[in-house]
Symmetry: C2
Subunit: 148 residues, 2 copies
């Protein structure tokens, strides 16, 4: 049987294909859907918190946000408390596409879940949550070492 | 409880952080580890088969392979049967990094699995396989429609 990561990677890439198909009329990279969902849910989140929240390294987040800013989806404003800290806000253009991104995500989740019975789905969700928590634990510890 | 895709995405991104940390001395993007593993396992795979195998759209695969070719990791040679079809071969430079990519992948899989009992892991693997098959089924059907 293949390693866990192989299937997790395939699942993630198929999800990107699906999102790309569903959102093809919107000029947004499927990889950026997570940014849409997170930034609209936490307007004013700092670039650093966002990186931690979605488990991407700081330089990657800065690069993706620069693209989203150029496309008109976000605004980055220096924090009043600490000018080096950039706060990220969705523009009305990002808020406009949010319902479509949300719906495509819901539909894909429903499609994936359809192959399992209710009990199997519950079990899968709970095991997936535990494995994800373990992965996040690695990312969090890494972050702490970084801050020392 | 969050939707399946949310946790799958976090898992995948934490995996990239881990691979990035483990392979930081190698000039390769963690996103390209799948290419290393697949191309070394199937030397001479066509660009199109590769796209299907790893569930990335053809233009994405072409873009990533162009980067890998420029970095000296792959060679693309037109097929003798059909000159439009590009076959992808690993260079010795890619073969050299393969053991490290493989080991980092194995270690990460082992780290993730450690949080579950043997029975739970077996169950998780089997449910994950079914959900992945369902996701791949979407990608395959999409491919067929594309070929019509």
């Amino acid at each position: 049987m293949p390693g866990l990561l192989r299937n997790i990677s395939i699942l993630k890439r198929c999800s990107n294909l699906y999102r790309g198909d569903r959102l093809k009329e919107i000029p947004i990279n499927p990889h950026h859907c997570t940014y849409v969902l997170t930034i609209c849910h936490h307007p004013g989140i700092s670039q650093e918190e966002l990186a931690k929240h979605i488990c991407i390294d700081k330089s990657g987040v800065a690069r993706h946000l620069a693209v989203l800013e150029e496309q008109g989806y976000v605004k980055r404003i220096p924090s009043e408390k600490d000018k080096r800290c950039l706060l990220v806000y969705p523009t009305s253009m990002m808020e406009e596409i949010l319902p479509k991104v949300r719906q495509a995500t819901r539909d894909w989740n429903a499609y994936l879940a359809e192959g399992l019975s209710e009990e199997e789905l519950e079990l899968f969700r709970s095991l997936l949550q535990r494995v994800t928590d373990r992965a996040k634990n690695y990312a969090d510890r890494r972050e702490e070492t970084d801050a020392l």
